[in-house]
């Protein structure tokens, strides 16, 4: 069986669990628990271990999707996920600038451990106060447009939109782009 592992990461409330549920053919392994500390301000439940989704598209071919834990604690689980992944997508809620620093921390963590292809998926871009892609890239530390990974808009609630995001990530991987 040939398997590709994609990691879906991002700050709390960016839409990671929803993203995986929208594309997975199996019931997502749900590790959501009642949120504690500051996460409770954003959502009642958050992912404490990780979400797991699967998409089999051939007798010997499958895509596995792993969502990182929601709360801002980088433990061994993150390390395992990123080291076993082929590519990852960083989801960022465009209307929550207070989460940009958290997204930047995640990027720092990921980049230090792995140079696998990645793209940025902007969610909630239609919400009031949403920042545009160019400014979010700057806020995440990408100052040179030529060295910025692809940035796409994605609606985690829509299967088609999530499929497009995964296509973008896979195509980026096919180009062998290391960002």
């Amino acid at each position: 069986m040939e398997i590709m592992r994609l990691v879906v990461t991002g700050p709390v409330g960016a839409g990671k669990s929803t993203f995986i549920r929208s594309v997975s053919e199996i019931e997502v392994v749900d590790t959501d628990r009642r949120a504690t500390d500051e996460t409770l301000m954003l959502k009642k439940r958050t992912t404490v271990a990780f979400d797991f989704g699967r998409l089999q598209f051939g007798p010997e071919m499958a895509l596995h999707l792993y969502g990182t834990p929601g709360q801002s604690r980088f433990d061994f689980m993150w390390d395992i996920l990123i080291r076993k992944a082929h590519a990852y997508i960083l989801l960022v809620a465009a209307h929550r600038p207070h989460e940009f620093r958290s997204a930047r921390r995640i990027l720092g963590f990921m980049k230090q451990r792995s140079q696998i292809p990645m793209i940025i998926g902007l969610t909630h871009t239609d919400c009031p106060g949403a920042w545009d892609a160019e400014n979010i890239a700057i806020a995440l530390g990408y100052l040179d447009a030529n060295r910025c990974p692809p940035i796409i808009t994605v609606n985690p609630n829509q299967s088609a939109s999530v499929a497009e995001a995964v296509i973008a990530l896979v195509q980026h991987s096919m180009q062998g782009c290391l960002v």
Binding site: E2, I3, M4, R5, V23, V29, T31, E38, A49, F52, L55, F57, G58, M61, L63, H64, Y66, S72, R73, F74, D75, F76, M77, W78, D79, I80, L81, R83, K84, A85, H86, R96, P97, H98, F100, R101, R104, R105, I106, G108, F109, Q112, I116, G129, W131, D132, N135, I138, A139, G141, L143, S159, A160, A163, E164, V166, I167, V170, Q171, M174
Partner: protein, 282 residues
């Protein structure tokens, strides 16, 4: 497109870092919210040119600089206005008056210090405020001395003077995180002693709490210094692993249950098949 928000969500230090790193030009308007900690003016205006702060004022009447010059007795309001009428359009008033011999270079520096460094640094005390950055507003020649400062330089000065860090508590780097330098060589900004000490640890491997232990300083103090280095675009926070690899969660799929190793490559035909399959779902 204008950017709006609240300082409680996106702090002034982060905003300045964003504007400098994005080489932004325009007007940042900050409206202090009631009970936000700073007495006096409610509205504050800061103009940026290519990421550098070029002027600041508490109103948009274009009279701030003339008033400051008058208050110091260097030039009367009428004389300043008359001289400024001969300035080329778009030339900063300060430079124009200096060219006409009405002000010295030293006086311009003092004006800039009062107008920008003192006024803007005080804004870091704001607990909360609404902000809007409009990139379409033209630069106000009548409020400009002709001098400018990098936004991060003002941030460093403002945060060094900050007494109450409670509004920034959730912005500070975690005590379990490390710092890694994101510049080549040593910082060009003038750092103070403790900033230099923390800078020596920007290798990406020493946690802030360990730095605090080594320097025998409270970890909160090190977190504040680390935040200053981060928003000054000198270093980046790197989270370190919180726990050793010893636990195996019950829900862990078999593929991940082994010790972390690099992922094996997938074939081009696999990727093409996957894209084809997903296209059918779009």
């Amino acid at each position: 497109m204008a950017i709006t928000g609240y300082l409680a969500e996106f702090s002034l230090a982060e905003m300045f870092q964003f504007l400098e790193q994005g080489c932004k030009t325009g007007l940042l308007n900050i409206c202090a919210l009631t009970g936000s900690g700073v007495e006096g003016q409610k509205n504050h205006y800061i103009w940026f040119n290519q990421g550098r702060i070029v002027a600041a004022a508490s109103s948009l009447n274009q009279q701030g600089l003339v008033t400051m010059i008058g208050q110091r007795g260097w030039l009367g309001d009428r004389a300043a206005s008359r001289l400024s009428q001969t300035c080329t359009i778009g030339t900063p008033m300060g430079l124009c008056l200096k060219a006409q011999g009405a002000l010295t270079a030293e006086q311009l520096k003092l004006l800039f210090y009062s107008q920008v460094m003192r006024q803007v640094c005080a804004l870091f005390e704001l607990g909360d405020g609404w902000f809007q950055f409009d990139p379409k507003v033209p630069l106000p020649a009548a409020e400009m001395t002709g001098l400018s400062a990098p936004a991060t330089e003002v941030t460093l000065a403002g945060l060094r003077a900050l007494k109450d860090w409670s509004a920034l508590a959730d912005k500070l780097p975690d005590s379990t995180s490390a710092l890694i330098s994101i510049i080549d060589g040593k910082p060009q900004l003038r750092l103070n002693q403790v900033e230099w000490q923390v800078w020596e640890f920007t290798s990406g491997s020493v946690s802030l709490s360990a730095i605090a232990n080594q320097l025998r300083l409270p970890v909160e103090k090190i977190q504040q210094v680390a935040f200053r280095l981060v928003v000054s675009a000198l270093a980046e926070e790197i989270p370190l692993i919180a726990e050793p690899i010893s636990l195996t969660p019950e829900t862990e799929p078999a593929e991940l249950s082994v010790a972390p190793t690099e992922a094996s490559a997938v074939s081009q035909s696999f990727l093409q098949n996957l894209v084809g399959f997903l296209r059918g779902k779009v």
